[in-house]
Amino acid sequence: METGIICHRPQNYPLYIRSVPTENELKFHYTVHTSLDVVDEKISAMGKAMVDQRELYLGLLYPTEDYKVYGYVTNSKVKFVMVVDSSNTALRDNEIRSMFRKLHNSYTDIMCNPFYNPGDRIHSRAFDNMVNSMMMQVC
């Protein structure tokens, strides 16, 4: 139901936040921020292993009573965090993976834009559209 997607820079400030029901955006913001610790923990746990596609997807970071948090980190240490309502049991891990993959692809497309400065908030309409479509698909 509620889904929040945030991209984080290595310095852990959000680049993009979107949640379907926008009223809880702040809550999701907080949730994602707290989950960053888990993400960092998982990243550091990998050690110096080569980061491949599989390791980019961090999986379920931690479940709470209301929602589940999934994480994904790119090669450039940009973290994608997705908060999914626990009631949404239809979401499988593969779906989450595909969603993250799409997010990653869209993010790389944004990166290809020379007018985009890494670190800026993402205002790309294409990205918005993609995210919206994805979230609509989930909800």
Binding site: A49, K77, M111, C112, N113, P114, F115, P118, R125
Partner: protein, 797 residues
């Protein structure tokens, strides 16, 4: 009115025009209405028009019948051709061009005219090219001034008439393009495909300046007006029946007259271009300009423009980065961060549109989509047809146009001039941002990932090597001590050779060093120091205390006598003694006998004389001394029960004594004299021996003294002393007595024999002692070597 003979073309043309004008189908055309428009479109002065009308008899009739109409048209042609309006000219003038009513039928063969006409008809049939039709529709009123409202209404009409819903953005585009095209001829610019309509353009340009200038201010606010004017002119052309059918409402409103032919061709062309008709279509000129700009960045038209260069280029347009970013997203079709020619043109087009105030589309318009390679041919054709339509212009025409529009329009002809605002994107880059080099965000290549720079971790081999080197050095140093040890013996002999006086002492010191080295570690320094010490010892005072027994003589091959002689020769203190010693040694054996007699003489001269006696006495003393020594030794041995060691000692002693004749003699003398006195003061003994070899005597006496000590320990010193003294005295006594009597000679000989024997024993003892010392030294050396070996592995750690 004369009969009018019209050519077939004229016939057709006139018929069409009449049909156009004959809105009511009454076969009579009113003087006003379309006819007027038509005549006005003829671009003839009004008086001429009036004259024509009068000539054709319309004034008489009050309306234009068909014939009158035809005549009028013919007269219009005549007037346009510059011929005087004469009725007679109607038929006389041959090859009169058809009357040109803005849209000349003659030029309609050109696509552009058709385009224009098609544009005029656009609103009716196509939704794409909005501006011309709406403009036309609005212009139909015949008023030069137009407003956007009319445009809107026209657009509405267009919508109503045309099945295709046109993005309302087109209107500005076509006026846009119109402007451009108009300017072209005026600017005398590039050769366009509109070469055909060149002459057609001329009237346009003539009409335009006035209209355009007047409409420029209007343009600032509205884009359509000029187009409307243009379209007005187009609209003057009589529409074809098809056109009429297509947009009856608009046509009715429109005053444009279109020639049938033009309309048909226009329709045809329009139909072709309808599929490509797009407000976003890039016109030919525009595309050419884009291509030129592309070349400035990337000479290879098939190549890519990197994102950074494109960013720089488009930043000069002073558009907000956000919009540029969006434009990029739209135009970079393959999302590769680089722009192909098509992508670049699309991006450029979007930038132009945005600069003109048109909003950017959410999705890339089809016309701007970069054509794939396999579709290039068809797209080119489409583009051409599209270009024919001159509909390429940003969509969305907000009512208010940015002030940049007129300037932009004006700058259109001057495509390659830097003064243009939008085209050449002022050199001042708005953002002046450094190119985003994806330095930290390159997904595949990130330094934070596992691309770990191998940190060479050295095991400090150099250190180890250093240690090894040190060890080696220490090993060498370790060897050094051995080498010095080894060298010592040769050194010692060398040293001995070097300085006779120093010889023994050095030997003694060496032996001291050897003895002391036992306590020493295998530290080379210590050994070295010991060596040095020893050397220093040797170098300092030959009269050292307790000089060790001399090291093995460097000339072991020497026989006793010879060695003794040699020793005597070398060990004797510098001076006559040495000479004497040298001279004496070989004569030792026979000498004892005569020496017995000469002994006292020797002594006497020694006592009496000085140096001379030394030399003489030395040889004499030598036998005496050994005699004394032997004597004492014999006695000592006899008294104590000579042991093997003692024998050996005696032998060594004797040998040593023989080897070190002078010193031994002195020592033996001393020994004989002070048998019990185990005085290590060899120098003290030496002087007693009448200044014999000092230090050199020290080493030999030492073992002797040691042995003597032991002997003393065994036996009472007094006895030995007395015995020795007695012996000495006897010897001394016997020696002088030798030359006295032959019988005494026998005694002397016997005494000498005894003395020799004693000497032998002493020497033997000395020899044994020396050998013992040698053994000790060797053992020490072995121990040192072992220690070195033991230390070596440690050093290798």
């Amino acid at each position: 009115m004369e009969g009018l003979t019209l050519s077939e073309a004229e016939q057709r043309y006139y018929c069409d025009l009449f049909s156009y004008c004959d809105t009511e189908s009454t076969k009579k055309v009113a003087s006003n209405g379309r006819v007027l428009e038509l005549f006005r479109a003829a671009q003839l002065p009004n008086d001429v028009v009036m004259q024509i009308m009068e000539l054709c008899g319309a004034t008489r009739l009050g309306y234009f019948g068909r014939s009158q109409f035809y005549i009028a048209l013919k007269l219009v042609a005549v007037a346009q051709s510059g011929l005087p309006l004469r009725v007679e000219s109607l038929n006389t003038v041959k090859d009169l061009p058809l009357p040109r009513f803005v849209v000349s039928k003659n030029e309609q063969e050109s696509r552009h005219t058709a385009l224009y006409s098609s544009d005029a008809d656009n609103p009716a049939s196509y939704s794409g090219v909005i501006p011309p039709p709406p403009g036309r529709v609005q212009v139909k009123k015949g008023s030069v001034s137009h407003d956007a409202v009319q445009q809107r209404t026209s657009s509405d009409q267009q919508e109503s008439t045309s099945p295709v819903v046109s993005p309302q953005q087109s209107p500005p585009t076509s006026p846009h393009s119109w402007r451009k095209h108009n300017r072209h001829p005026s600017g005398g610019n590039n050769e366009r495909p509109l070469a055909g309509p060149g002459p057609f353009w001329a009237p346009f340009s003539e009409a335009q300046p006035g209209s355009s200038t007047s409409s420029d201010p209007i343009w600032s606010g509205h884009s359509p007006p000029p187009h409307q004017e243009n379209w007005v002119s187009f609209a003057d052309t009589p529409p074809t029946s098809a056109l009429l059918a297509m947009h009856p409402a608009s046509v009715q409103d429109q005053t444009t007259v279109r020639t049938v032919a033009s309309a048909t061709t226009t329709n045809e062309i329009r139909r072709q271009s309808s599929s490509y008709d797009d407000p976003w279509k890039i016109t030919d000129e525009q595309r050419q300009y884009y291509v030129n700009q592309f070349k400035t960045i990337q000479p290879d038209l098939n190549g890519f423009i990197p994102g950074s260069a494109a960013k720089e280029f488009f930043t000069k347009s002073k558009l907000p980065i956000l919009e540029l970013s969006h434009i990029w997203e739209l135009s970079d079709f393959d999302k590769d961060g680089a722009l192909t020619l098509d992508e670049f043109c699309a991006a450029f087009h979007l930038v132009v549109a945005r600069k003109n105030g048109y909003d950017l589309p959410e999705k890339l318009p089809e016309s701007l989509m970069p054509k794939l390679i396999d579709l290039e041919d068809s797209t080119e054709v489409g583009e051409q047809t599209g270009e024919v339509g001159y509909s390429g212009s940003p969509a969305e025409a907000p009512p208010s146009k940015s002030p940049s529009m007129p300037s932009l329009n004006q700058t259109w002809p001057e495509l390659n001039q830097s003064s243009e605002q939008w085209e050449t994107f002022s050199e001042r880059s708005s953002s002046s941002q450094t190119l985003t080099q994806f330095d930290s965000n390159i997904a595949p290549a990130d330094p934070d990932t596992a691309i770990v720079h191998p940190v060479p971790i050295r095991m400090t081999p150099s250190k180890i090597h250093m240690q090894e080197m040190e060890l080696k050095r220490t090993g060498s140093d370790h060897t050094n001590p051995t080498s010095p040890l080894l060298v010592k013996p040769p050194d010692l002999p060398e040293e001995n050779k070097m300085s006779s006086s120093v010889k023994y002492t050095s030997g003694n010191t060496v032996t001291d060093g050897y003895s002391s080295s036992d306590s020493y570690t295998s530290d080379p320094e210590q050994i070295g120091s010991a060596v040095t010490r020893q050397r220093s010892h040797s170098g300092t005072s030959p009269d050292n205390t307790a000089p060790p027994p001399p090291p093995p003589r460097p000339h072991p091959s020497h026989s006793r006598s010879s060695s003794l002689d040699m020793n005597r020769s070398f060990s004797v203190t510098p001076g006559q003694q040495q000479a004497g010693v040298v001279a004496y040694p070989p004569a030792v054996p026979p000498r004892p006998q005569p020496s017995q007699g000469a002994g006292p003489h020797v002594h006497r001269p020694v006592d009496a004389d000085g140096l001379i006696s030394h030399t003489s006495t030395s040889p004499q003393q030598i036998p005496e001394q050994p005699n004394f020594a032997d004597f004492s030794q014999f006695e000592a041995f006899a008294a104590s029960g000579v042991n093997k060691e003692e024998d050996d000692e005696i032998e060594t002693h004797s040998e040593a004594l023989q080897v070190e004749k002078p010193s031994d003699s002195a020592s033996s003398l001393r020994v004989a004299k002070a048998d019990g006195r185990v005085e290590e003061k060899v120098p003290a003994n030496v002087p007693t021996s009448a200044g014999k070899g000092t230090t050199p005597l020290a080493p030999p006496p030492k073992p002797i003294r040691r042995r003597l000590k032991s002997e003393d320990e065994l036996r009472p010193e007094a006895e030995e002393h007395t015995q020795k003294t007695g012996v000495i005295a006897a010897v001394l006594a016997s020696q002088p007595s030798i030359p006295r009597s032959i019988g005494k000679d026998k005694k002397a000989i016997q005494a000498s024999i005894r003395r020799n024997k004693e000497t032998n024993t002493v020497l033997a003892r000395l020899n044994s002692e020396l050998q013992q010392q040698l053994k000790d030294v060797l053992e020490e050396r072995i121990s040192l070597e072992v220690q070195l070996e033991q230390l070596r592995p440690f050093s290798h750690l």
